[in-house]
């Protein structure tokens, strides 16, 4: 039996800090390096921020799911929203591409998530919400 936590919460930007803290608290049982904690926090922060800004356009009633589980030395992170979805995933994942430059988005969210993960898959379609699956190996603190 591997430990898991499923979180469901509303798309409030106050929940961004919450989910970062929750993700690092969950990872703690793997005795991770400070760097891996930082990377886990950044991954969920980017993904959840995207749900809030893009999927729900800052409507707080939107619902976000984050699931985390542990398998050996690996953390699985799954982030799902039921928002507008992504039409062109390839374009969305290009570094510096953003559909909201007027909101000063840097277009680096996906690039950072990818750099900090060992594996990332995105499933989405217009009007179908978005699901992101991430695998991240956690190095143990000596």
């Amino acid at each position: 039996m591997n430990d898991f936590v499923h979180l469901t919460f509303n798309a409030s930007s106050d929940n961004e800090q919450f989910i970062r803290t929750a993700a690092s608290a969950f990872a703690l049982r793997l005795n991770p390096t400070v760097q891996d904690i930082y990377e886990v926090k950044t991954i969920v922060s980017e993904a959840v921020t995207n749900c809030i800004i893009h999927a729900y356009e800052e409507n707080k009633e939107g619902v976000i799911e984050v699931q985390m589980s542990i398998q050996d030395d690996e953390m699985n992170i799954y982030i799902k929203d039921f928002g507008c979805g992504i039409d062109d995933i390839e374009q969305a994942m290009e570094p510096m591409y953003t559909s909201k430059p007027e909101k000063e988005r840097s277009g680096l969210g996906f690039s950072i998530m990818q750099q900090f993960s060992d594996d990332m898959t995105v499933k989405s379609g217009k009007g179908e919400g978005t699901e992101i699956r991430i695998k991240k190996k956690i190095k143990k603190e000596e």
Binding site: T42, I53, S106
Partner: protein, 117 residues
């Protein structure tokens, strides 16, 4: 207070004191612009000592302020970056536009001398 400001000649030292995520960048953006747009200000120095987290929303905030300073023909510098923040900022390419200094003293000297990045 999430931000402290200090004016040294024409250099605005912006000491950020919160996580630079989407939530907080929304809260401080206008305050930063209000201070940057004062006519005494030409350059900006970001002191990142009290920033313990930053993601791409923080990068967006910094690039946005960079543009405001650039419009004033000013320059932007950074001091006190932790390894984690440095890593995120390297990914962003912001160091093509702004320089990282070892100390406030060095930063103030270079920014006012009008040295190119």
């Amino acid at each position: 207070m999430r931000v402290n400001f200090e004016l040294r000649k024409n250099i605005l030292i912006i000491k950020l004191r919160c996580d630079l995520d989407h939530h907080n960048t929304e809260l401080i953006r206008e305050l930063l612009d209000y201070n940057i747009e004062k006519k005494e200000v030409q350059h900006a120095l970001f002191d990142m000592e009290d920033v313990s987290f930053m993601d791409s929303s923080g990068i967006g905030l910094i690039l946005g302020r960079y543009k405001k300073i650039k419009a004033k023909k000013g320059r932007v510098g950074f001091i006190n970056l932790s390894d984690d923040i440095l890593k995120i900022m390297k990914i962003s390419g912001v160091f093509l536009l702004a320089k990282l200094y070892d100390s406030e003293k060095e930063a103030l000297a270079h920014l006012s001398k009008g040295e190119e990045v």
